[in-house]
């Protein structure tokens, strides 16, 4: 390994180690709530209400909602990890430690994003473990599951980073998850197939990017989807790449960070 590559690797690992340490230190705030919430969803929507609902494409209602619930956990945790961590650093001005250092912008961005992806992965994994107590999951295509998880977690980590850059106060950190992410996730087919909607709302739903993520993920688990999987992957790769370069531009210009 050349000296330069070793230095970059040390910079990257410092950020990742710090991020992992942060969310593990406050695991009751970062990891546990999603698991408890999902167990409640399983009990209420899966066991109590789900038993009254007919099967969808041959799968029980409980099995149908599991991929969406995992994706919901991944989206929320990847996003909130990066937005709260980076904004916290900004708020305490500790971000200046990074800005004065020779750590390149792409390493800062990648380091924080990987932190978000790892939290998303741990939460997703915990939800899967919880789910197998309630339902028999087929894991139709494990590579597709991992690919869609990775792309979704990365995209929302990057989106959280953008939110943190523009946020000026703590209220700004919760606006997007409350007013945009949660509605889009709930309307993205976590609890229903869009086939059950009138044609007009089916068309409207197709403008919701989270629909493609949830359905892609559901296809990975169950082998069924409301949308084309290739389109899902293409849209995710495109959005992730755009978000990455938007953040790099913001960091280069110092928007929200420098005067």
């Amino acid at each position: 390994m050349t000296n330069n590559v070793r230095q970059i690797s040390n910079m990257f690992m410092t950020i990742v180690r710090k991020e992992i340490g942060r969310f593990l230190r406050i695991w009751t705030q970062t990891l546990l709530p999603s698991v408890i919430m999902t167990v409640l969803y399983f009990i209420v929507f899966g066991a109590f209400i789900g038993s009254q609902i007919r099967s969808i494409d041959g799968f029980s209602y409980m099995a149908f909602i599991v991929p969406g619930l995992i994706m919901m956990g991944v989206i929320n945790n990847s996003y909130s990890n990066v937005v709260s961590s980076f904004f916290g650093q900004k708020f305490q001005r500790a971000v200046e430690e990074l800005l004065v250092s020779p750590t390149p912008n792409w390493v800062i961005l990648l380091g924080y994003s990987v932190g978000g992806v790892l939290r998303g992965f741990i939460v997703g994994f915990l939800i899967v473990i919880t789910a197998v107590f309630f339902v028999d999951l087929p894991f139709y295509n494990i590579i597709l599951i991992l690919l869609l998880f990775l792309l979704t977690a990365l995209f929302f980590s990057l989106a959280g980073f953008t939110n943190a850059i523009f946020a000026r106060k703590f209220d700004d950190v919760s606006i997007v998850p409350t007013f945009i992410l949660t509605p889009l996730t709930f309307l993205g087919g976590v609890f229903y197939s869009i086939d059950a909607l009138p044609v007009f709302w089916q068309t409207v739903s197709k403008f919701n990017p989270i629909l493609y993520m949830i359905n892609g993920f559901r296809y990975g688990f169950l082998g069924i989807s409301d949308v084309n999987i290739a389109v899902s992957i293409f849209i995710l790769i495109l959005f992730t790449a755009v978000m990455f370069f938007v953040n790099l531009y913001l960091l280069k210009k110092g928007i929200g960070l420098k005067q």
């Binding site: 410092t14 430690e97 800005l99 020779p102 750590t103």
Partner: protein, 300 residues
Amino acid sequence: MNALDIQELQKIYPSGTEALKGISFSVEKGDFFALLGPNGAGKSTTINIICSLVNKSGGEVKILGHDLVKDNIKVKSLLGLVPQEFNFSIFEKVIDVVVAQAGYYGMSRHDALASAEKLLKQLGLWDKRDAVSRTLSGGMKRKLMIVRGLVHDPEVLILDEPTAGVDVETRREMWKFITDLNKQGKTIILTTHYLEEAEQLCRNIAIINHGQVIENTSIKSFLSRLDTETFVLDLAEPISNLPKSDLEIKKIDATTLEIKIAKADTINKPIKLLDQAGIKVISMHSKSNRLEELFVKLTH
């Protein structure tokens, strides 16, 4: 080669405030340099531009010959900053704050831990390494910022008000530490409101006022411009009247006198006068810091 070269540096904030109006000065390698000025003069803006925390509006900055913009990564690796405000994560342990900073400069964890241990021991913080940083006293927080600024062994160390709000003992300990660093060859650039600090530690100064450099010289030549000095004398017994003389003597209270002496005169003359009048002097000190007198004259 100079450690720092600033040419026509300009900063206009989005609000339209012109914080720096094209300042120029240089700092030699190995120098102990003070950047002085009243509040809002442009000192912190200058430092923040050098350290890439503020974007400049015009001009040129070079660190050891490397351009701030064209060779930004190299410039950053040569600098260490001890900022004015506490800006470490208050939830992290002391050792983690320092080791993470070393990591941001590309140091391996092994080297970072070794460097952190050495510096924390030197500044008496080793016993506090596992304490959460917010629990440290004000003086310890200042020391932590010095350790953090030095952990990657920078060529140029910039200290922005490093001893603000610390007790005398800690301040003197920090002065000794910084002076030793300078003796080892590190270039030190200091801003401070304690002009005694600048007078004791630094060899050269630049004074900024209203975004312009109004003085850039050595401390020695700057102080040589001082034409009078005021001494405060504590008397053994109270006096009612002052002895008659052509000297500028002022009675502050019954046991305290203030004497202004021209630079060309000696201190023997007033002492002799008081002695002849039977007035016993038990102690004497300079009324104010000499640099402070000149500073006030220049900036007001």
